[in-house]
């Protein structure tokens, strides 16, 4: 998309002004995918034919005088969000986007009969789905290596992971294939890949965006959010996706925040709370440097910087790896080889229990099986209180710690990740090392708060420059302030304009 604008707001404005057509923008995106996807493997499916047909429809809407808010913006959808038969047609040249695979053998040929609310709202606003993006199977992972489609590669260094689990979405935006991709974030799955790929990622407040049609991993933690090049684009995407949905009883009655509320020229006094435990000696020097220069930048912008405590941050991982697998073991019980998904071939004499166990044993990958078993164990009779209930008490304490911290500040600042992108294969043999990638992000999900990762520096690793992100966390449903604080940083710096290569 080198000749077309890079921000979704610019694209929309150009399409509405008829300087560019939706078809032209979509063609540019599809050409970029064809050129780059072989190198980074960001997409599980591309739907060129359907995308061009839908783009022509958007051009017709614009010609008829409509002004859709995302007119002609090409978008990619993480392949754990249901996309119904409406937008894709079978026999598409580059592949049929009608499947919702979760990068799993068990759903490899699953064609959802309906579309998730967040995706439908983007389509209604004139966005064009060009394809679906790779992920760790069922969104369980921090590297996008656990996928039946193979690993996604980081556009900054194809020997490294893009992060995960929304690694395909982050890589697609970083490589300039689309200006907006949806991710889902249960313990860091939007923010960590955004940090690794040098793009902007927002996990909204729990309840802000409907989870209808998002394949459930851990229902009390999951949120859909945008991955973009900058805060303004994320704000617009959130405005369109967010808000009450009768199909998800956990959506809030809060109105979706208006983009206009997120003013980068905001002169309101700012109080930034820097997490004491986030200045850990275990951080990569590049992460530490980005954090300190972000603090200095906010001081320059007139912010008052205070230190806040999240004393249980190291226990957050332990609580998360009880709560999330417990919920996953329950949610994934629906995949039983009976109503949809893969069914194992049975030997003579095998019955219903073998049908369940064999379909699941063959259909799920190693990490998913590990988490289902972990969840089954911590919920089982005799262990429930020691593990699950204890983790829920820690969750209460974590929320209290955040609430105390917000008495002294408007937004909390800490690293997004302990280090920049790691090498492909570096952590696959050690589940706990992989889990510790999420040390700064999981507590935000457990507390249900909005969090974002924004590009804030580059670190030199083995002679290559890799992006580093910092994380801002806000009060529940305070995305307008959180995003305007991020936009103030963007206006003063150029980290968000850095591109791979």
């Amino acid at each position: 998309m080198s000749q077309t604008p890079q921000s979704i707001i610019e694209i929309r404005d150009a399409v509405l002004a008829r300087r560019l057509s939706a078809v032209e923008v979509t063609k540019a995106s599809l050409a970029a995918i064809e050129r780059e996807n072989g190198r980074i493997n960001a997409f599980t499916q591309v739907c060129a034919k359907a995308a061009l047909e839908n783009a022509a429809r958007v051009d017709a809407r614009v010609a008829a005088g409509e002004t859709p808010a995302l007119a002609g913006v090409p978008i990619a959808i993480k392949d754990n969000m249901c996309t119904g038969p409406d937008f894709a047609t079978p026999g598409d040249g580059l592949g049929y986007a009608g499947f919702t695979t979760c990068a799993s053998r068990i759903l490899e040929h699953y064609a959802s009969p309906f579309t998730s609310t967040a995706v439908q709202r983007l389509i209604d606003a004139g966005a064009i789905i060009v394809g679906k993006t790779n992920l760790d199977e069922f969104a369980m992972g921090s590297s996008t290596e656990h996928s039946i489609f193979g690993a996604t590669r980081n556009p900054w260094d194809v020997g490294r992971v893009p992060g995960g689990s929304s690694g395909g979405s982050a890589a697609a935006v970083a490589a300039g294939l689309v200006p907006l991709a949806l991710g889902s974030d249960t313990g860091g799955s939007i923010r960590q890949p955004a940090a690794f790929c040098g793009v902007f990622g927002l996990k909204p407040t729990y309840g802000r965006v409907s989870r209808y049609g998002l394949v459930a991993f851990a229902s009390s933690l999951d949120q859909i959010g945008p991955i973009t090049r900058n805060a303004g684009d994320a704000a617009l995407a959130l405005e369109i996706m967010g808000g009450k949905d009768p199909l998800d009883g956990t959506t809030s009655r809060h109105d979706s925040p208006r983009l206009a509320q997120m003013d980068p020229h905001d002169r309101e006094p700012l109080r930034i709370g820097v997490v004491r435990q986030g200045r850990s000696g275990a951080n990569h020097p590049g992460v530490a440097a980005a954090l300190e220069s972000t603090i200095a930048q906010y001081v320059k912008l007139g912010a008052r910087v205070v230190e806040v405590d999240l004393p249980l941050i190291d226990h957050g991982i332990a609580a998360y790896y009880i709560v999330a697998p417990a919920e996953a073991s329950s949610n994934l019980a629906r995949l039983d080889g009976v109503r949809f998904g893969r069914r194992a071939t049975l030997a003579p004499g095998e019955g219903l229990e073998e049908l369940y166990a064999r379909s699941r044993g063959e259909g799920f990958g190693a990490e998913v099986k590990r988490r289902i078993m972990l969840g089954t164990h911590v919920l089982s009779s005799g262990y429930y209180d020691a593990y699950y209930n204890t983790a829920l008490k820690v969750r209460r304490r974590l929320l209290g710690d955040f609430e105390r911290a917000f008495e002294a500040c408007d937004a909390i600042l800490m690293p997004s990740t302990p280090g920049p992108a790691f090498r492909i294969g570096e952590k696959t043999g050690d589940p706990i090392a992989m889990y510790l990638e999420d040390v700064y992000t999981v507590t935000v999900n457990l507390a249900g708060l909005p969090g974002l990762s924004m590009p804030a520096g580059l670190a030199e690793v083995d002679g290559r420059m890799l992006p580093v992100g910092v994380q801002l966390v806000g009060r529940a449903f305070d995305e307008p302030r959180l995003l305007s604080i991020a936009r103030r940083f963007e206006r003063a710096t150029d980290w968000h304009t850095k591109r791979p290569g």
Partner: protein, 111 residues
Amino acid sequence: MSQEPTNAAAPHGISLDQTRKIARLARLALTDAELAKAQLELSAVIGYVERLRELDLHGVEPLAGVSGAIRRGELDEPGRMLPVEALAKMAPAMQDRFLAIPKVLDEGGGA
């Protein structure tokens, strides 16, 4: 920071028999090699989460989810339902209008 998977003999290690029982409860057919690996990995993760025991959590109410602004007490409205054909299309095996599964009851009907 991480424990080696070989640390299965830790005090909170999970035995192979326990692992087999968990796999059964989770309805996961695993090979012997998968079971052996699962034993080591589950033991390592359980060993890691044991650190929660060092916290004093007396009097703390468990928090299963954040729901401060969530709608309560609103009635569900019956909505559009997916047609049977759409559901049947997703099913791995159908017999007439029904999902087909292996026979559950023995001949003669005794369960």
